[in-house]
């Protein structure tokens, strides 16, 4: 077994403060290594350090050996593409938007390996076939789904023949169903060389197997064989991380029961929706009651989000009827929680100002804000910052705070936690549902995570 990558006491400092405490690891051929940790725990710094991509203001200490030789930053950079490669985080941002997929792979063969155009094209086609994109080679990245784009990026990144692959959050922003494909692809690639994966997703770590390192706030908390660590976690943090998976949640973990004799909030009869001339679903009928959590599951692209938007009147319906049955409810009490919190809150003013705007518009009692913020464990200080200065979890809880202040009767939560790490996701989900119960607000939850929907919802609609 050859050791492909060996780190000895590698640490990253910003001035005097330590961002990543000394860490040692070794990556051997054919045995994947996974680094698991929350966002902001310094995982990505490690990958940047190995690649030689650390920002200039950060200082690197320790020794990095690649393929048995200790190397400086510049020497490692010289290995890019042919020996050492990093997969981009969100591939649709890393691919050339104007270039056909097959050309992006073909270029690697031509310019890295110096092959002739025809030969390069044949090799690129073979690569695309291998990742299951044989018929999509002529498409541009914007015409591909997220999973397809990631597979294309993997094909392009590995075409250089690198034996050492670093994957930084390879499945970030992808549907759960697509994640498995990517992991399988990475696995087959790793059999030929070394694979270092950085992720916050426990399921991926479990699937990849091999060795695992758990990092919290720049410090190594647990290390060992993936199977052993994930089935018998010793560290408190590892246990919390594993406990946050919807798979292991206790069923009906809400203390508040459904309200007695709830009124019907929404009645949907024979609803059909079309988008771009294509029918998404037909003749859907259901009812939503006060305080109920309704889950919608289905493949990506089947119209889950469109259904929610149609119920809120944001999309036209092709046929059928949606009746709102609470006459006293104002239009602003039908609200939506968005998937990506930073894009759903303007950054032009501070969060406090946004809250002030809302209070002013609807004459909300200011006394309700402080207790509500307590419940959502939102610190006062975030009100002085704009949305760029707070974490995704805090921002999503702020969005929930704004929504709840309006006493909503119906809340459409469109994948509210898919961009948050598991521990935060669990907190946010539990909070949202129990608060909704308390205030008799109906919630429509769209999620890719079948476990989450099964564990939390009173009614499930499968599209």
């Amino acid at each position: 077994m050859t050791i492909l990558l060996k780190l000895t006491n590698v640490a990253v400092y910003a001035g005097d403060s330590c961002l990543l405490e000394p860490i040692s690891l070794s990556l051997v051929q054919g045995r994947p290594l996974t680094i698991l940790g929350q966002t902001g725990s310094g995982k990505s710094l490690l990958a940047q350090a190995v690649m030689g991509l650390l920002p200039e203001e950060l200082a690197l200490q320790g020794e990095i050996e690649v393929l048995g030789e200790s190397m400086t930053c510049d020497e490692r950079r010289a290995l890019w593409g042919t020996k050492l490669v990093m997969l981009p985080q969100e591939p649709w941002n890393a691919l050339d938007p104007l270039m056909k997929g097959v050309d992006q792979v073909q270029e690697v063969y031509r310019y890295v390996h110096g092959k002739h155009q025809r030969e390069a094209m044949a090799l690129a086609q073979a690569d695309l076939q291998y990742v299951g994109l044989a018929h999509s080679g002529a498409k541009r990245p914007s015409q591909l789904s997220g999973g397809m784009a990631q597979r294309l990026a993997i094909a392009a990144a590995t075409a250089g023949g690198a034996s050492l692959i670093l994957a930084d959050e390879p499945t970030k922003g992808l549907d759960a169903s697509r994640r498995l494909d990517i992991v399988r692809l990475l696995q087959t690639r790793s059999a030929m060389g070394g694979l270092l994966t950085i992720t916050h997703d426990v399921a991926i770590a479990r699937q990849l197997g091999g060795d695992i390192l758990v990092i919290k706030a720049g410090r190594l908390v647990e290390q060992g064989d993936a199977q052993t660590v994930l089935s018998h976690p010793e560290g408190e943090y590892t246990q919390a991380l594993l406990g946050a998976e919807p798979r292991v949640w206790k069923e009906a973990s809400f203390s508040v029961p459904l309200p007695e004799s709830p009124e019907v909030v929404l009645n949907v009869e024979k609803l059909s929706i079309e988008r771009g001339g294509k029918s998404l679903f037909n003749d859907l009928s259901f009812q939503v009651k006060q305080g109920e959590v309704v889950g919608i599951v289905g493949e990506s692209g089947c119209g889950k989000s469109s259904l929610g938007d149609a119920l809120l009147g944001l999309l036209p319906v092709a046929s059928g009827r949606i009746s709102r049955l609470i006459p006293a409810a104002q239009p602003y009490q039908w609200l939506k929680l968005y998937q990506d919190p930073p894009s759903a809150v303007t950054s032009s003013v501070t969060l406090g100002k946004l809250l002030e705007d809302l209070v002013g518009l609807h004459g909300i009692d200011r006394g309700r804000i402080a207790p509500m913020m307590d419940k959502l464990s939102l610190p006062e200080v975030i009100l002085e910052r704009s949305c760029h200065g707070v974490s995704g979890g805090e921002l999503q809880r702020f969005a929930i705070l704004r929504a709840l202040l309006l006493n909503p009767v119906f809340l459409f939560a469109d994948e509210p936690t898919s961009r948050l790490d598991p521990i935060t996701a669990k907190e946010v989900t539990t909070l949202l549902f129990s608060l909704a119960r308390e205030t008799k607000c109906a919630v429509l939850l769209v999620s890719h995570d079948a476990d989450l929907v099964r564990k939390t919802c009173d009614q499930v609609i499968a599209l």
């Binding site: 239009p331 602003y332 039908w334 609200l335 894009s343 303007t346 032009s348 003013v349 809302l358 518009l361």
Partner: protein, 262 residues
């Protein structure tokens, strides 16, 4: 909203404020008027009575330059204000009010774009030579298109954004959505365009003056002064240099102020 200026932008602002101060103080303090002739003292070099010398009719160059700079700034300012307001308003309207409005405005803008800007200005200016109002209308008509196109493109993205949609669902009105979502997104581009627009308006007026279509004698205008002093370039080069340097300084100042954002 806070403005943080780069040092080059501050430099541009200082140049422009300096010229403005020269225009205001010059017209106010000078004992001469712009058309007061003294045929005994023509083409004089700078001296104690006439700080910037006198032209071929013995008129004070200092007074005339101050007046011309003031006129240029006035025109630049009103043109920028008008075209920015009009372009921004129509751009937001086109992006926000559905396909019909957008389509109609799009056709109108494309017609305007099909004609070279200077030709439109020349046509309108030739209808009423020497009319400040006509110059102003013509230049504004040409310039608002830029604002329209940039603002429309940026606003389209903002209108589709979850952030604006969420504000709308929470019951906020159109003005609020403009103030919090659209304006912060378009403001940097509008300010940059305005800085370039100011320079362009002044340059256009000078070009028209240079071919005798713009402001008419005896008024002082930078382009007109350039062409009037042109015959005396070998006897009194210091006179011809003055309007040229000032035009260059104004354009330079505005471009520095615009920064490098576009």
């Amino acid at each position: 909203m806070t403005f943080s200026m780069k040092s080059s932008q501050k430099c541009g602002l200082i140049i422009l404020l300096g010229l403005l101060a020269f225009a205001v103080l010059g017209s106010w303090l000078s004992p001469y008027t712009i058309s007061q002739q003294d045929l005994n003292a023509i083409l004089e070099p700078p001296n104690a009575q006439h700080w910037l010398g006198t032209d071929h009719f013995g008129r004070s160059m200092f007074t005339r330059m101050a007046y011309a700079v003031g006129l240029s700034f006035a025109l630049g300012l009103v043109c920028v204000m008008t075209s920015a307001l009009l372009g921004t308003f129509l751009g937001v309207w086109a992006a926000w009010s559905g396909k019909q409005v957008d389509g109609v405005l799009g056709v109108f803008v494309n017609i305007l774009l099909a004609l070279p800007g200077l030709v439109i200005v020349l046509l309108l200016a030739a209808i009423a030579p020497g009319s400040f109002l006509m110059l102003y209308l013509a230049i504004s008509l040409v310039q608002w298109v830029e604002y329209f196109r940039v603002v429309r493109a940026v606003t389209q993205a903002v209108v589709q954004s979850p952030a604006r949609q969420s504000s709308q669902m929470m019951g906020f009105g159109r003005w609020y959505q403009f103030k919090r979502h659209i304006w912060p997104a378009i403001a940097p581009s509008v300010f940059t365009l305005a800085a370039f627009g100011g320079a362009n308006a002044i340059l256009t007026m000078a070009s028209l003056g240079f071919i005798y279509v713009g402001i008419q004698p005896p008024l002082a205008e930078l382009g007109l002064m350039t062409v009037e002093l042109f015959p005396y370039y070998s006897e009194a080069p210091w006179l011809l240099v003055q309007p040229l340097v000032v035009i260059a300084l104004i354009v330079f100042g505005f471009h520095l102020l615009a920064g490098k954002r576009i």
